[in-house]
């Protein structure tokens, strides 16, 4: 890595520390025990943007759910800020693939949801914070709209605003652009890159898009399936700020893309055969 900020961060204790993490559960229908992920080790430093890349069913979402506190580890430990994860907490926010907005709430009320649940609506200034977040994601003027009145891309902007308004230390994004149309996806990739560069948040970004993983990540964690485990971790080493257009012809981008293609092709074929 060339940027000094990353080097400085790497000197301190990692913000997320995962050691020998495994998750398995019994499948009631077949009576078999299924191992979702096995032996995962990962350190994430403050301010790092980690993309987690892998084929469908490789356990990358399970991995994220453990960090989010929604799934308990079967073995191993997950530390966030030095203390073990026992459940969801205000230091972590999640952006969901299917947006997971509350359909009965307007954009404004959806964005304030996190603050409301954490009882932060008492103090002054929360309205301004909500409004700021809405403007940050480019939804000014849609405060009183209901989610079903918005396009998929706009709904995900609401999901993004809801996550950043609570000012978490870590943003967990579970294929946030997976359900968005192709054109909007490209625009929003650039926006997420800008937004995260501006806020300096630590991000764990799950994706199955190679381009997305390279464009956004400082490091790419490649998952393999059956059982889900880390195959390799790659530093992208691309200059920031980046954009969809600026990296298209970068030799490093092309090199990474070819490498990841080869890595994933084997995985995708293996996954297809084992199904």
């Amino acid at each position: 890595m060339t940027t000094t900020s990353i080097e400085r961060n790497e000197a301190g204790a990692p913000l997320i520390s995962v050691r020998d993490l495994s998750v398995s559960y019994d499948v009631a229908r077949t009576g078999k025990r299924l191992t979702a992920i096995e032996g995962v080790d990962l350190d994430v430093h403050e301010g790092e943007f980690i993309t987690v890349l892998g084929p469908s069913g490789c356990g990358k979402t399970t991995f994220m759910n453990v960090v989010a506190g929604l799934v308990k580890p079967t073995t191993g430990t997950v530390l966030v800020g030095g203390s073990p994860v026992t459940g969801p907490g205000p230091d972590r926010a999640v952006v969901f693939q299917d947006y997971a907005l509350l359909p009965w709430r307007t954009v404004f009320d959806n964005v304030k949801f996190g603050l409301e649940m954490q009882k932060e609506l008492k103090g002054a200034g929360w309205r301004e914070r909500v409004q700021e977040a809405i403007e940050l994601v480019g939804l000014a003027g849609f405060e009183q709209s209901y989610p079903r009145e918005l396009s998929g891309g706009m709904q995900q902007r609401v999901g993004l605003a809801r996550a950043v308004v609570a000012e978490p230390r870590i943003l967990l994004m579970d294929e946030p652009l997976g359900a968005v149309d192709a054109l909007t996806r490209e625009v929003m990739r650039d926006e997420i890159e800008k937004l995260m560069a501006a806020t300096g948040k630590t991000v764990l970004f799950i994706t199955h898009s190679i381009e997305e993983a390279i464009l956004l990540g400082d490091r790419i964690v490649v998952f393999k399936s059956h059982p889900g485990a880390i195959k390799e971790i790659i530093e992208t080493g691309l200059e920031r700020p980046r954009s969809e257009r600026s990296i298209q012809h970068d030799p490093r981008f092309l090199e990474l893309r070819d490498h990841l293609w080869d890595a994933l092709q084997g995985e995708a074929t293996a996954a297809a055969v084992s199904k």
Binding site: A68, L70, R92, D98, A100, L101, W104, M117, Y146
Partner: protein, 277 residues
Amino acid sequence: MSAFLAAGPNLGRGGIGAWLAGLSPAGKAGVLAIEVVVMLVVWQLVVGVFGWINPVFLPPPTAIAQGFVELVAGGTLWPNMLISAQAWLIGFAIAAVIAIPVGLLMGSSLPMDRVVGPIAWTIYATPTIAYQPLAKAWFGFGIGPVIFLVAVSALFPILLNVAAGMRTTNASIIRAGKVYGASRTQLYRSVYLPSTVPFLFAGLRQAVVLATIGMVVAELAGSASGMGALIIKAANTYQTDQAFAAIAIVVAWSVGMTQVVTLVERWAAPWTRKGRR
């Protein structure tokens, strides 16, 4: 016919379907009004003008209107209507008051669901009319059996819909609630309950129709008053025009109350307003 089928279902994508889908509320009401008028005119022609059907069995619309006037003039309409409305409203209120909390409990607790569910479905599956003689025995000949049958008829669609709404709360939204720190109580208040609301109103709409059936069934046999009694008395004396007038009023009540439920839903749950259809 085959060409019609080949075009697939017409749900507003083209032709007359698209035209209908694009109508304003006033335009939609206009189309409905035209439909009603055409139906009444055809009915009047078939029975009243050409005399293809004996008007004693199926009186023409003008005769039914005449029957309505007779009912009003004879002073029998208002008291019977009031009795029926009273029984309906009391029975419906009882049903809602019992069904909503029990439905919520059933939807949020699997043991409750396993215990109450089979009982609820069994009673729901039984034709209301089967309870009619029993209701007479239990509650006598007044308004009691009518209230009972209205309540029994309205209870289960509300209860089962509320339970289903609670049970089918979107798992992804529940996860979002947990991630953003909702406590158990907050999760119920801010996630489960609101997502049950559209189901509640769907249940209430079904309940309106079934409650009205329950009311008429209870009043038809052996009741001295109410709209059902009015219908049976008129029919027994071959005053079919009056019987049809009374039936029309019951139908209007049922449709009207369904509309009331829909209006309350629009006010209480504006997010459920569907796209234009």
